[in-house]
């Protein structure tokens, strides 16, 4: 699990808080790896420390113990090598769609004209042609999340790290965004680590599913999803994976 050459390596992460009734062990001994180009989902019941783990991997929070490595380099602060997408979009409201996507490029040496081209290409990639000059307030939730994805991809990160990115949109939009994300993943060949509490979403998207358990937050099992895409909910195979992951989350022994 900690083999050399793994693209992302989460090694023995622990996070403890000082609670009112003694220390809280939010995460304990969390280890797993993600290979280059792989799509990995992290699922678990609420309160299992998924979001805390996400923030630690992103370098936004520090762990009590353990390390996160990206390409064998230790992550201890936010880095443009990871594109981060949050559930609540967090677009810059004073910037247009184009301005949001260009944000990360303004610090880089990508020259003006090339930058514009790149931004336009990304806006096209997420299906927002014609909305470049719109402000976030004019967009629906699904469109906002597309902008956030394009913004994260703009700096050409090695890893796309997403925390319940489709948790705040309606079911129809969510399904559309899932399909689009798979297309983007295939097209850009990015490594994706995707946090969700939605088992169906995980089975639909992931090459592998890291199932977490709570109290303390830890890895219960890693499930390989060996199924061709596109995956349809009504397939018997889909159902078997779904039941298996759900069972693991509910705390049943692995079969």
């Amino acid at each position: 699990m900690t083999a050399h050459g793994t693209h992302v390596r989460v090694a023995d992460i622990a996070k403890h808080y000082e609670g009112t009734e003694g220390p809280i062990r939010a995460l304990e001994d969390v280890s797993f790896g993600v290979s280059e180009g792989e799509f990995v989902c992290l699922v678990g019941p609420s309160g299992c420390g998924k979001t805390t783990l996400f923030r630690i991997i992103a370098g936004l929070e520090s762990a009590t113990a353990g390390d996160v490595f990206l390409n064998d380099e230790r992550v201890d602060s936010p880095t443009p090598d990871m594109g981060v997408v949050f559930q609540e979009y967090h677009l810059f409201p004073w910037r247009t769609v184009r301005g949001n996507v260009a944000f990360g490029l303004e610090k880089s040496d990508v020259a003006g004209e090339k930058r514009g081209e790149r931004v336009d290409r990304l806006i096209e990639l997420v299906g927002l042609e014609g909305f470049g000059d719109s402000y976030p307030k004019e967009l629906s939730g699904g469109m906002k999340q597309r902008v956030a994805i394009a913004r994260a991809l703009a700096v050409d990160p090695d890893l796309l790290l997403m925390d319940e990115p489709f948790g705040a949109v309606d079911a129809q939009t969510r399904e559309m965004l899932q399909t689009e994300l798979l297309d983007i993943w295939r097209e850009t060949k990015k490594t994706v680590l995707f946090v969700t509490h939605d088992v169906e979403e995980a089975v639909k998207l992931a090459d592998r599913i890291v199932v977490m358990a709570k109290e303390p937050g830890r890895v219960r099992e890693v499930v390989d999803v060996d199924m061709s895409r596109p995956r349809v909910r009504s397939d018997a195979e889909f159902g078997r994976y779904y039941e298996r992951v759900l069972g693991l989350i509910r705390g049943e022994r692995a079969v």
């Binding site: 992103a58 370098g59 936004l60 602060s77 936010p78 880095t79 443009p80 990871m82 594109g83 981060v84 949050f86 609540e88 967090h90 810059f92 409201p93 004073w94 910037r95 247009t96 944000f103 990360g104 303004e106 610090k107 880089s108 402000y135 976030p136 307030k137 913004r151 994260a152 703009a154 700096v155």
Partner: protein, 267 residues
């Protein structure tokens, strides 16, 4: 981001309504209000000697005479010479201090006792310093005005920066923004700009009020003209120059409001 007070809203409505650009009903009612007020004023003035309350017509004549003689333009020109530097310096320093102290908890902790001590000091109480440090001149008056503008902008900017979402900062960091200056420039100040602009607008208005106070110790201008006329019981002149102040305030406020609306089109 509740930056608009009820007073603010009401005032916006008043300005737009009185220009007749938005709602004809409000324009008609506003005009009727002015007519009613003038009629009442005129009726009361009939019963009073001119040094207590001159008639609207008498004030109008004086206004015209002051304008025609060039006396009014001179007074405006003099006041503007301390209003502009006072407002500009007070605004600039106030915004900078507010942003800086809200961003840096170290600076905030160090300066908190000083800020709390100085905050309640009314600008007028500093006239002695104005005279001692700058003299009876435009610089002294600008100092008084700047103090007034400073605090309004300080608290507006401070509140705005405090309200900036930590999540936006996380996003910026994850996109490679490093260091305080870059974060302030690319996230904090734009995110706090609605509050900062409201502060600037309120401060600019307050500066017009302070123009009169800042001329109390002898600096020439509109305020000086009002004070001198008061001493001579020339109430018509007093009212004429109060009107001048109101019109200047309206002119600047409506212009700034237009700028503000443009800058905040994203909201």
């Amino acid at each position: 981001m509740a930056t608009k007070t009820d007073v603010d809203e009401a005032f916006d409505g008043y300005v737009e309504g009185s220009l007749g650009a938005i709602d004809p009903r409000r324009a008609v009612l506003g005009t009727a209000g002015i007519a009613g007020f003038l009629a009442l004023w005129w009726a009361v003035s009939l019963t009073q000697p001119a040094f207590v309350l001159p008639s609207p017509a008498a004030v109008g004549e004086t206004f015209y005479a002051e304008a025609a003689s060039g006396e009014m333009a001179t007074a405006i020109g003099q006041s503007v010479r301390h209003w502009i530097p006072g407002a500009a310096i007070g605004t600039g320093l106030g915004v900078a201090a507010g942003v800086g102290l809200a961003w840096s908890s170290l600076a905030d902790d160090v300066s908190a006792p000083i800020v709390r001590t100085l905050r309640p000091v009314p600008p007028l109480a500093l006239i002695g310093f104005a005279i001692a440090w700058f003299g009876i001149n435009h610089a002294g008056a600008a100092f008084i005005i700047a103090v007034g503008a400073f605090w309004i902008n300080f608290y507006a900017a401070y509140g705005g920066v405090e309200g900036v979402s930590e999540d936006l900062l996380d996003v910026a960091r994850s996109l490679g923004v490093e260091g305080d200056f870059e974060l302030l420039r690319s996230v904090v100040v734009p995110a706090a700009s609605p509050e900062i602009l409201t502060g600037i607008r309120t401060g600019i208005g307050r500066c017009w009020m302070l123009v009169v106070a800042s001329e109390i110790f002898g600096v020439p201008g509109i305020g000086r003209r009002i004070l001198r006329a008061s001493n001579n019981l020339q109430v018509d002149v007093v009212i004429a120059y109060i009107l001048v102040l109101s019109l200047l305030f309206l002119l600047v406020d409506v212009s700034f409001r237009a700028v503000q609306r443009r800058l905040l089109a994203w909201r």
